[in-house]
């Protein structure tokens, strides 16, 4: 007896994971992390009202979630000032990115463009559907809209991915830059605007884009500012035809009922959201101070994390990272040159950042001793 006959595509894929989870690292280390600052989760947690709604929904979890996400879509439409038909809800941005890539990609001739060092889960999906992945370098610490557009034209791309604010650098573009990019998309090319961190931007800096622009889809999430990463709720804003296309491929009964209830309650608690945003601002400021106190440069950030330039090369960066991990501080480093001179620290509570502040000098001195 032989095993299944995989497709040529899937047979050639690695059994990989875009990110190694902190739990896996804890199991390797044999102890829990003292500070969990590596996945840009919100340590400030969900709104107490969302927690209450989820706890209350636990007893109702014998029922499948509403496959239309009717109530949440209506609430999101009102929140975003768009129509119900402009909103798709899915299992986190990761899930929605997977569906989107699947809709347009079936082989290497289906070109997509991203930045070298940007969000790896997008690349994971593109590889998983056999698409042709084209990368352009960052311009300094920013994704480069002009280079992305030029490459898109050259390879006749179907998708162009850009995150604003950017992960993993924390950099951002002006409203006008993104709006210009949105209106300059080549025919038949879709701008995939990942706005996972958009709530951390001041409202005046968030791009205004016609929700019915057929060349743009924006993705938002409850995983970051709303503190609900483990609930898997993301949403997209786009042209109704594109939104409807997700219904061709999505897992219609894929949303958890508890998560739907939690997201609805979280969305209503605008007061809590602004408190979190303030706390995140304090935390990222303090991370900058800690970096400076160690002679390092914290990059400007518009997100809930800070890229700290450790001032060396990839090997040095890895050494600092390992030193932090060994001391029970979960952080991550950047993926590719030249960003991989940086480590990425998520906004933490005061005790989390105390631990980081204590651990960083030792990690640095150990790394320097290895030079």
């Amino acid at each position: 007896m032989t095993g299944p006959r995989y497709t040529k595509l899937t047979a050639g894929l690695p059994a990989t994971v875009p990110f190694v989870g902190p739990e896996s690292q804890e199991r390797s280390l044999g102890q829990p992390f003292r500070a969990r600052l590596g996945a840009n989760e919100s340590v400030f947690g969900p709104s107490p009202k969302a927690i209450e709604a989820m706890a209350k929904a636990a007893a109702q979890t014998w029922m499948y979630g509403d496959p239309e996400n009717h109530d949440l879509r209506h609430a999101l439409a009102a929140h975003e000032g768009v129509t119900f038909e402009n909103i798709i809800v899915g299992e986190g941005i990761d899930g929605l990115l997977g569906y989107l890539v699947r809709l347009v990609t079936e082989g290497p001739k289906d070109a997509v463009v991203t930045s070298d060092g940007a969000y790896p889960t997008f690349n994971y999906h593109v590889a998983g559907y056999g698409g042709g992945l084209h990368k352009v370098p960052y311009s300094g610490d920013h994704e480069d809209p002009d280079a992305l557009l030029a490459k898109a034209r050259k390879v006749r791309a179907k998708l162009v991915y850009l995150a604003n604010p950017d992960n993993p650098m924390g950099s951002w573009h002006s409203r006008e830059t993104i709006e210009r990019m949105a209106s300059a998309m080549p025919d038949g090319c879709l701008l995939v605007l990942d706005e996972a961190y958009a709530q951390f931007l001041p409202a005046t800096k968030v791009p205004q884009i016609d929700p019915n622009n057929p060349s743009v889809i924006r993705f938002r999430t409850f995983s970051k500012a709303y503190g609900m990463a483990g609930a898997r709720v993301g949403y997209g804003i786009g042209h109704p035809d594109l939104i409807d296309a997700f219904n061709k491929v999505r897992n219609h009964f894929g949303m958890c009922r508890i998560s739907q209830a939690g997201a609805l309650a979280a969305l209503e608690d605008t007061k809590y959201l602004s408190e979190v945003i303030d706390k995140v601002k304090d935390a990222t400021t303090r991370i900058g101070t800690i970096a400076a106190g160690n002679g390092l440069t914290a990059l400007p950030t518009a997100a809930n994390f800070v890229a700290i330039d450790c001032g060396g090369d990839e090997a040095f960066d890895k050494s600092v990272l390992d030193g932090l991990i060994d001391q029970g501080v979960f952080v991550r480093m950047h993926f590719v040159k030249p960003q991989n001179r940086c480590i990425r620290i998520s906004a933490g509570k005061i005790p989390d950042l105390d631990i980081f502040a204590e651990a960083l000098p030792r990690a640095l001195s150990q790394a320097r001793a290895q030079l």
Copy 2:
């Protein structure tokens, strides 16, 4: 500006849903159902210990779920008497079926076989990945292992789907029949054994299959007997190579943290599970009595629902169904001839079944008046 350029495959797919959700029907009706007996959910709910674990985990939902599902996989491996490497956890059986179909299917030459009238979400995934879907008829009220195998050989199928117990008929095969089928799979053909309802079978009737048999994957779920449909936790048992292949395509961070916690607690509460199974038995017995009291035949069932033969054709069946829906009783009917002479009633609590008992005679008399 034009919209995205979809793949030929996805452009040709309908924006469809395998099942219309009860919430959508409630919105159409303008009122909530009085009895929710249409989706084979467990009205008895999750174990109180699972509810407690989920409520407690709500505050922790700022963290992504463990992408390895480490603790749950270990607990499931112990529960099933297999190794950690034999277990894949995913977003319900629906999610896992999607991944599996994707692993082996990319065009119409990739043949898969199922029974005409069996679980439509499997067919949805096959269509969604462009596979060649071949159907064989039920034999009476049973899926037909010999016909499935013969068709699989003829079309050189990559997958053969069979549910035991069967949904939507509630019928089941002997342990020996399924074991024989598992050992008779053609080379390179995988038996997809959907055991969503296996917990309702007496342990002695559950097939014993070598977990390392490369020709079989079994799917189980927390959606039915465990009463956690809205938490989206399914798992597969299979050869480690096949289990590992899921890592090539799955949404690694797709599991909800609350659901992981709930499933772990539910799995431990074996006492509650047997109480539910007893209650389900009482409920399905009573559904049979109600059917008989109305001159109808309830088919034997090994699941948490009963197919009631309404004694007419599809039009009559639809008429009875509509009469029940109009009276606030959510049930479903079967999809294709000859099963579509039946309606499907999920096990309910006593008040749910009181409502059904009250509504059925009127639905029948209205349907008969339309003959």
